[in-house]
Amino acid sequence: MTDNEGSLPTGFRSGWDADLSLQELVLESSDIRAFMTELAVLVSSRLSVPGNTIHSGVTVIRQKKPEAVAASDAAASALDELQNGFGEGPCLTALREERTLLVPDLAAETRWQDYVRTALHQGVSSILAVPLDLGGDGEAVLNLYSGRTNGFSVEDIATVETFAGHAANSLRLVLRIARLRETRNDLSAAMQSRTVIDMAVGAVMAQNRCTRDTAFGILTRASNTRNIKLRQVAAAVIASISGEQTIPAHFDE
């Protein structure tokens, strides 16, 4: 039992409660960044006690580069960015090795020397990094900073790990929903575009008494020689015939 435990709000140790509030985060966050920010704030506020403020940030791997996407406060955000700038540090190592990494006393740490020196200067004394297991959907790590040596108890670590597990499950769902929404939007834009192009192809076929492939060839050549997108060429063809400037798709939602 540590001093920290008594100060934690009741319910924090209960996985069910943590899970419930994470489900709410999923429902309430309009995008992933907002979700992660709320996650960082939640972890930070649940773990902080008087005299030991915990700063929390989330780093994700995007196109093979680490990016600080969310934080409980400006200090955590700056520390995450600092580490990503150096390209090495406990959080990035935790992410790569897919396991929790605790630096109980930063002053005694011999790895990541450049980063450690700068972080010490910023007032950080201990760091806890817990990767979020997102399966194949992405890579993310929860970074916690304390201004105190041994700022994280064994119970704290277990708590954060449990929390990270629940968060990862929710985050997977968020990522999947976001990806599906993106695909849906792309498809709906494609249908709009295709409607315009199909109409123009039909018009060219009627005018030239040619096949669909030939009509496509004519439009594509016009697009290439004038360096205009095919869709704009098609829209111009339709406008020249009908005077219509906007063509509604038939699959509007």
Binding site: T183, D186, D213, F216, G217, N227, L230
Partner: protein, 84 residues
């Protein structure tokens, strides 16, 4: 499948192979995903499904010339860079 009858003679097949290889490399070098490229290609009037496009971009299937033209156009417009 490698040598469909609409492909013409050996010379045209070599040309189609070379064209396909360039398309495959260009796709791999881009950050665009298959579904994104396919959706764009579909949006400009493309006819083949995502699986066929995947096979084409892995140099495992030839597409009709008109579809090859649309795949190239989709890449020019969507991936960007200098057009072919």
């Amino acid at each position: 499948m490698m040598n469909a009858d609409w492909m013409g003679g050996p010379d045209q097949l070599n040309e189609a192979d070379a064209h396909r290889r360039i398309a495959a490399k260009r796709f791999q070098a881009s950050k665009v995903t298959l579904v994104e490229l396919w959706t764009y290609y579909y949006g400009i009037g493309g006819d083949v499904d995502e699986l066929a496009l995947d096979a084409y971009l892995n140099e495992a299937l030839h597409l009709p010339a008109a579809q090859v033209g649309l795949v190239t156009l989709a890449m020019n417009e969507f991936i960007g860079g200098d057009g072919a």
